[in-house]
Amino acid sequence: MKKKLQRYLTLFWATFQLSACTFGGGFVIIPLMRRKFVEGLGWIEEQEMLDLAAIAQSCPGAIAVNAAILVGYRACGLAGAAIAVFGTVLPPLIIISVISFFYAAFRENELVSLVMQGMLAGVAAVICDVVVSLCGALVKERSALHLAILPAAFVLVRFLDVNIVFIILGCAGIGLAEGLLRSRLERRRA
């Protein structure tokens, strides 16, 4: 019992620390988790961690949260998953709560407001950089279907104001149809 409690605490503290120190989103947390849970604690095997990372990226939601659920589940079952989510969510919850209480007063300060305005141009540059990188990765896939979806989805969301949810469901449907069709063709050939 005491050992189990110890393991829960270790899990909570590990996920809390990882979340508190991870700037820049989900893709950064996976290598850090690997170092902690594969090399540090030895709870998860190397190959398994790669599989868990793939699942975390294929599921909806934040990658960091998804990865924490998987690692927690693997380490201590459902209770572990709950503890890991709690540990991951707590640091941003605390930090943003504190910031938002000061936000109004903070935003009226002239210097802060100037810095925020400049940072907005920085955010725009960061997002533009991300989009260029993602487009480059798409082009390398050499799939005509995927390349056709990109401009089509952009027009739908930007100029026709179609709800994002419908676009996501539609593309998931297209992907499902493509996969089913291909496996049927392969079976016929075989």
Binding site: T22, F23, G24, G25, G26, F27, C59, P60, G61, A62, I63, A64, V65, N66, Y73, L78, V85, V89, P91, P92, L93, I96, S97, I99, S100, Y103, L114, V115, M116, Q117, G118, M119, L120, A121, G122, V123, A124, V126, I127, C128, D129, V130, L134, L138, I149, L150, V157, R158, N163, I164, V165, I167, I168, C171, G175, L176, E178, G179, L180, R182
Partner: protein
């Protein structure tokens, strides 16, 4: 009622943001500035900047921020809970399926077609932020802010060529903008 709306909005954000990171951004924008007028576009841009500068996923950061503004601490808790709920259910299910059949090829095909759509949506939300950054609230070409435009171009060049941490670029952009503003004022005097 407000808490239920928060829960439902962030449940949708958690459910439909696939691919992590910026994938949640267009959904958050649609939910909090279009479907509900919880934030102005400027506040939304601020929270994107804050989310980038602080640890934690963008979706969780926005859930906390929007929740507190709309309904205080209970709002933050409810919005965050709504945001992680779909993950908890789906990830656990998929992990179970994965360990059972080890086959994810159909899931991979689905993700293959989702990825370009997600890129398109990030591009669209990014374009909205870009217009706000360079042309201000009006979005009018006449309101072009030269300092912002300069910082955008330099930031993008730096990111493409040197691959620095985005946090550094953003902090630098903020400092550079304030410095340019005060320098311009000093010259006018």
């Amino acid at each position: 009622m407000l808490l239920l709306q928060l829960l439902w909005s962030f449940f949708q954000i958690g459910l439909f943001s696939i691919g992590g990171g910026y994938a949640a951004m267009p959904l958050i924008q649609q939910q909090v500035t279009v479907e509900h007028s919880w934030l102005t576009m400027t506040q939304f841009a601020d929270i994107m900047a804050i989310a980038e500068m602080t640890p934690g996923p963008i979706a969780i950061n926005s859930a906390t921020f929007v929740g507190i503004r709309v309904a205080g601490i209970p709002g933050a808790l409810v919005a965050t809970f709504g945001c992680v709920l779909p993950s908890c259910v789906i990830v656990t299910l998929l992990a179970w399926v994965y360990y059972r059949c080890k086959g994810l090829s159909l899931v991979q095909d689905m993700l293959g077609c989702l990825r370009p759509a997600v890129v398109a949506m990030i591009a669209s939300a990014g374009l909205t932020l870009f217009i706000l950054a360079i042309f201000g609230q009006s979005g009018d070409i006449a309101d072009l802010n030269y300092a912002s435009a300069l910082i955008f171009v330099l930031g993008l060049l730096l990111l493409r060529l040197k691959k620095p941490s985005p946090i550094l670029v953003m902090a630098g952009s903020g400092a550079a903008f304030a410095a340019l503003h005060y320098a311009a004022e000093a010259i006018k005097l």
